[in-house]
């Protein structure tokens, strides 16, 4: 027997047989595609074996070549079917790789037929016979075709493809399959490829025997596929059993699901057949006999859920396993129901979804409830988050389970941080203990609580929080926890504090100022007063007071007036102003000033009277004192207002002017001004008001007052402005100065008399001088006249001489007359007359006058007269008097001075400041210390027989000229008396 032929034939036959078998299987069940492919492949392997045999039996290279050529056809089929098998049966392998393999193989096949003889050989040169299995077989000798690589490459790719697929299957978990199918294919294809490559490239000399390997693959695949055949039979038997059980089970399920209102369905996916229970039809609104398909189902699904449904189904198809979905359906009657579907998907051996089965339940009610709950929760959330307060909730376990947005924003923490007892971290350590205690205690008692504590804000500052917590109860009345709201009361606390302080301050201020606040609610007749005030009046500080109770403290005489005023104010709505007395608890009486206004209510009727009262007892007392003072004043007091009307007078004024008070008040003040001054008086008043200040009126003027009986009298007025709230008042103090004027006049007269007397006295002092002065001219007259007589007696009369003589007599006579006139002027009584006086001339006159006296006293007189001395306005006689007095005093002072030293210096000088100074300096005894003080006093004298009028008069005269007189001792002995007079017009 030819072993080669035998083996190859048997192999081929076996393959054919297997092919046939599996072909029939496929014929029966068109879904068993793997079987078909296997059949094809087995056939191809058989053909391959046959061709190999043909090759081995080839006689000629051409035969060999043809066989080789035709070998590629089944080879291609094998490759393709292997690829297909892997893909179909193993359900693995990358598609692109698959196509690449097939594509490449196709290319090589085409190339094979294009080239001659075939793709393996460029040329077959000859045949060699080798011994194979005891038989000689043909082996080609020739030039290998490089294009052979294409075919071999495709095999390589196939190997890679299969490897990849195997790995995928292995990974998938089908280890048996991977090993059996994938592994075997891999092994044998690799071997076949190696063998083919080796032979093809002439590396080994062996006949092509790749079919053996492929046969091995076929065998492996057949085994694999046979399992199914085996299993099928087992399954058929089992199936029967199962079917029975299934029917039983189905019945039970039906029962159960019907009872539970569940709809069952089973979906044959490939056939798109949905088996459903009656219930299901009911649920979904399908008619009893209506066929149910997935599409049909989709149609009744709510448009909004369709997409989701599709996706779920898609997912289901791909993955298999269980799923759950909720969706709405629109029933034929238009109503919408929620369906909860729970199902599972079975995948077939190819991994495709084969069966799905599930349960559908109408969950509309639940859904609605859920929806409502969600809405309700959402509403709650909205409200909670929108609330201006911080809201927290806790459950029955005391732990907090909710904080609204404001809370979280306030604390700057997340919900997770705050939940449970996390919120307590934000509470101020000092308050935490108390907080928890309060909360816990209330919680235990299921009571509401309020607490204040400090909570840390997101910026780290602790803010005061007022937390109101109330217990929550569910619909059944069971306790379900607490809910609380918190408000940031920091500002409030601060404001309260500030308000408290402000109130305290105000109370303090009011107390200090003795102010009281009052409120009288007219309609309710409720009187409220500030605490201190009430206490002072002995009224109860708390509790309701009626107006009458308050009025009980008002002095009985003022009660009616007060009551009336308040009622009027309440009625008219106007502001009111009162002054009244109150009787304190100790019985003392105080004056109160009360100002207030009305607060108008909604109906524009005065509702509340509000006022301020202040104790004005002191002021009243002061007013009283003022009034008494004014009345008691010895001078006349008159108060005159801005318009010049008399507002107030005292008794003295009445007496002074002879009017009664009533006749004066309200009258213009001009009624007491003499007519000739009346016109200009308002101007003076205006001037005073323009620059009001306390001063004497009419400085420099003589003022007179006019009595009622039209008589006038001299007055002096002092003016003081007084500011009152009602405007400025002028307080005039009027003094009747008639008496004073009278005495002034008398004094003036006395002075003049005194002056006169003094002049007379001075003249008396100057008797010597006077006598001397007169004697001189008289001697002259007598001498001349006697001489004249003798001349005449002698007989030698010289007429010329006589004339001279007579002229001299006349002159002397005049001279004597002048002297007498001078004396007369000096001693005449009379008031001072002012005229322009040149002091120097005056000095000269006086010097001449006193010269005899000076000579008598052996006293030298020296004059130092300032040539620039201005003339002054003065009374020449009075000044002469001054000088003579001083000179006489000087003579007296020098009585004990040695004759040679007796000297008198009279000097006039012009001072730089517009005054002139005259001085009389002697060399006498000087002024003693005791005398100095009283030197110029009237009736002070150091002379034993002096009247002491001299220097007093000197001072009076000098001062009346506006000058000053002084005296001092001089170095070198003696005294110097000097007086200064203003050069300008003197003031009297």
């Amino acid at each position: 027997m030819n072993w080669v032929t035998g083996i190859w034939s048997i192999g081929s036959g076996a393959c054919l047989t297997l092919a046939l078998m599996h072909f029939v299987v496929w014929w029966k069940d068109r879904t068993a595609r793997a079987n078909l492919i296997f059949a094809v492949m087995a056939t191809a392997v058989a053909v391959l074996a046959a061709l190999e045999l043909a090759m081995m039996r080839a006689e000629t290279p051409a035969q060999f070549g043809i066989a080789v050529r035709w070998l590629h056809v089944p080879a291609w089929v094998i490759v393709a079917s292997l690829v297909a098998f892997v893909r179909l049966y193993l359900r693995a392998g990358r598609r692109w790789l698959a196509w690449t393999v097939v594509g490449m193989r196709t290319v090589s096949l085409i190339l094979n037929f294009v080239f001659s003889p075939n793709i393996n050989y460029r040329e077959i040169t000859g045949l060699r016979h080798v011994s194979f299995l005891g038989e000689p077989v043909s082996v080609a000798v020739g030039v290998p075709n490089p294009l052979m690589l294409v075919a071999q490459l495709s095999l390589l790719l196939l190997i890679i493809f299969v490897t990849d697929a195997t790995i995928a299957v292995w990974r998938r978990g089908d280890r048996r399959q991977a090993l059996m199918v994938g592994g075997s294919i891999l092994l044998f294809v690799t071997a076949a490829t190696a063998d083919g490559v080796a032979i093809g490239w002439g590396i080994i000399s062996m006949p092509v025997s790749v079919s053996l390997f492929y046969q091995a693959i076929v065998a492996a695949m057949a085994c694999e596929l046979s399992y199914d055949v085996l299993h099928a039979a087992v399954f058929a038997r089992r199936l029967q059993t199962y079917e029975a059980a299934l029917r039983e089970s189905e019945a039970r399920i039906n029962l159960a699901t019907n009872a539970a209102n569940l709809g069952l369905w089973i979906w044959n996916i490939p056939g798109d057949e949905l088996w459903v229970t009656e219930k299901w039809r009911e649920l979904f609104g399908f008619a009893d006999s209506e066929p149910v398909t997935f599409d049909r189902l989709l149609q009744i699904v709510h448009p909004g859920d369709r997409e989701h449904m599709k996706q779920v189904v898609q997912h289901m198809f791909e993955r298999g396993g269980e799923y759950e979905s909720e969706y709405r359906v629109i029933r034929p009657d238009g109503s919408t129901r929620w369906i909860l579907g729970h199902g599972s998907v079975e995948l077939d051996e190819l991994g495709k979804a084969a069966f799905a089965r599930g349960v559908s339940r109408d969950v509309t009610k639940r859904k609605i409830a859920e929806e409502e709950l969600r809405e309700s929760e959402a509403r709650f959330r909205t409200v909670a988050d929108a609330a201006p307060v911080l809201i927290w909730m806790s459950g029955v376990d005391k732990l907090c389970d909710f904080f609204n947005k404001p809370w979280l924003e306030f604390t700057g923490r997340t919900m997770e941080q705050e939940l449970g007892n996390g919120w307590a971290e934000g509470v101020h350590p000092a308050d935490l203990q108390r907080c928890l205690q309060t909360y816990t205690a209330a919680f235990e008692a299921r009571e509401p609580f309020v607490m204040q504590y400090r909570l840390r804000r997101h910026d780290g500052e602790y803010r005061w929080i007022k937390d109101d917590g109330v217990p929550r109860f569910d619909a059944q009345g069971d306790f379900s926890g607490y809910i609380g709201s918190c408000v940031d009361i920091t500002e409030l606390r601060r404001n309260e504090q500030a308000l408290r302080e402000s109130e305290e301050r105000m109370t303090m201020a009011m107390d200090a100022a003795n102010l009281g606040l009052w409120e009288w609610n007219v309609s309710k007749d409720e009187l409220w007063g500030s605490k201190t005030r009430l206490a002072r009046l002995g009224l109860p500080p708390s509790g309701k007071l009626s107006l009458e109770q308050g009025l009980a403290r008002v002095h009985i005489d003022d009660r009616d007036r007060v009551r009336q005023t308040l009622r009027d104010a309440a009625r008219t709505g106007k502001d009111y102003h009162l002054e009244y007395r109150v009787v304190l608890t100790d019985g003392s009486v105080c004056w109160t000033e009360h100002r207030g206004g009305t607060v108008v209510g909604a109906t524009s009727e005065p509702v509340v009277l509000r006022g301020v009262s202040i104790d004005i007892t002191e002021r009243k007392q002061a007013e009283e004192k003022f009034r008494l003072a004014v009345e008691a004043s010895p001078s006349g007091i008159a108060l005159v207002d801005r318009e010049g009307k008399i507002v107030l007078v005292n008794t003295q004024t009445e007496k002074m002017f002879g009017y009664s008070r009533a006749e004066m008040i309200g009258q213009p003040v001009e009624i007491i001004v003499p007519e000739r001054f009346r016109a200009v008086h308002p101007t003076h008043r205006a001037k005073f008001l323009a620059a009001p200040e306390a001063r004497a009126m009419g400085a420099g003027r003589e003022l007179f007052g006019l009595r009622k009986d039209a008589t006038e009298f001299p007055i002096e007025i002092g003016l003081s402005p007084i500011e009152t709230p009602d405007g400025i008042l002028v307080l005039s103090s009027i003094v009747d100065i008639s008496a004073r004027k009278q005495s002034e006049l008398e004094a003036l007269q006395h002075r003049e008399e005194l002056g006169h007397l003094s002049r007379v006295a001075a003249m008396g002092e100057l008797t010597t001088s006077i006598a001397h002065e007169l004697n001189q001219p008289l001697s002259g007259i007598i001498s001349n006249a006697s001489a004249g007589q003798r001349f005449i007696d002698r007989g030698n009369v010289d007429l010329r001489e006589l004339r001279e003589l007579l002229a001299d007599i006349v002159a002397d006579g005049r001279r004597a007359g002048d002297v007498i006139r001078g004396i007369q002027t000096m001693v005449k009584k009379g008031g001072p007359t002012r005229q322009r006086v040149n002091l120097n001339d005056l000095v000269t006159n006086v010097v001449r006058m006193v010269k005899p006296n000076a000579t008598h006293h052996s006293c030298e007189i020296q004059t130092l007269l300032d040539p620039d001395l201005p003339a002054i306005e003065a009374d020449p006689i009075q000044l002469q008097q001054v000088l003579i007095n001083l000179v006489i005093n000087a003579f007296d002072a020098m009585r004990n001075t040695p004759l040679s030293r007796r000297k008198l210096v009279i000097a006039t000088e012009r001072n730089g400041d517009g005054t002139i100074c005259m001085s009389v300096r002697d060399y006498g005894t000087g002024i003693s210390e005791e005398a100095r003080e009283r030197l110029f006093d009237h009736f002070f004298t150091t002379k034993s027989e002096g009247l002491g009028m001299g220097l007093g008069i000197v001072r009076s005269i000098v001062e009346s000229h506006g000058g000053t007189v002084a005296a001092e001792n001089v170095d070198g002995g003696g005294a110097r008396f000097h007086f200064t007079l203003p050069a300008s017009a003197a003031v009297s």
Partner: protein, 210 residues
């Protein structure tokens, strides 16, 4: 017509009217007069040789009448003073008179009163001059004596005897005698009485008796 005694009259008064009046009056009485405003002016004038009198006002600035009197006395001038005054002052008057004034008149004075004074004054002045001359002569004679002789003379006129004189002086009587004789000769006197008169004329105070 009365013949006025010879002599010059000086009138000193600070007042012009008075001066003028006086001058005229004096002239009308036939006297020659000179007027001065002040005593110093008068003293400046060289002394006149003949009898003179001075009418002077007591109260004058500068050197007054009293001062003038004193000055004249000091200078042994023979002018006789007539004081006139504007106002009377008894002490002053007495003082003036005591000092040798002729008279003390008050202004306004009577003209004849004044002229009488002037007359008296001139007479006295002349008398004074005569006496003065005599005195000078006597003195001149006395000057001729030696000191010793003078001493002797002094004692002689007291009536002392020569012996007494000798004893007083501590010399011999003889000496005294000699001196006495010389004295008498020099002085040209014959008797003690004459000597005494001479000495009296000279104005020498006698030595007091023991």
């Amino acid at each position: 017509m009365k013949i006025s005694p010879k002599g010059l009259v000086f009138a000193i008064d600070d007042d012009a009217s008075v001066r003028k009046g006086l001058a005229r009056l004096l002239r009308s009485a036939g006297y020659k007069s000179e007027t001065f405003e002040s005593a110093s002016d008068f003293l400046a004038r060289p002394q006149c040789s003949g009898p003179s009198c001075v009418i002077v006002d007591v109260q004058m600035p500068g050197i007054n009448g009293m001062d003038l009197q004193e000055t004249l006395i000091q200078h042994r001038r023979e002018e006789q003073l007539v004081f006139v005054t504007g106002h009377g002052d008894i002490p002053m008057c007495a003082q003036a008179m005591k000092a040798g004034a002729v008279d003390f008149l008050r202004k306004p004075f009577q003209d004849d009163e004044l002229l009488q004074c002037v007359e008296r004054a001139l007479l006295r002045s002349a008398e004074q001059r005569r006496r003065g001359a005599e005195q000078n002569e006597a003195r001149r004679l006395l000057d001729l004596l030696t000191p010793r002789e003078f001493e002797v003379m002094q004692l002689v006129i007291t009536g002392m005897l020569n012996k007494q004189i000798a004893g007083e002086l501590g010399t011999a009587e003889k000496t005294v005698k000699v001196h006495r004789g010389k004295v008498m000769a020099k002085l040209g006197v014959a008797s003690v009485a004459a000597l005494v008169r001479l000495v009296q004329r000279a104005g020498i105070a006698p030595v007091g008796n023991k």
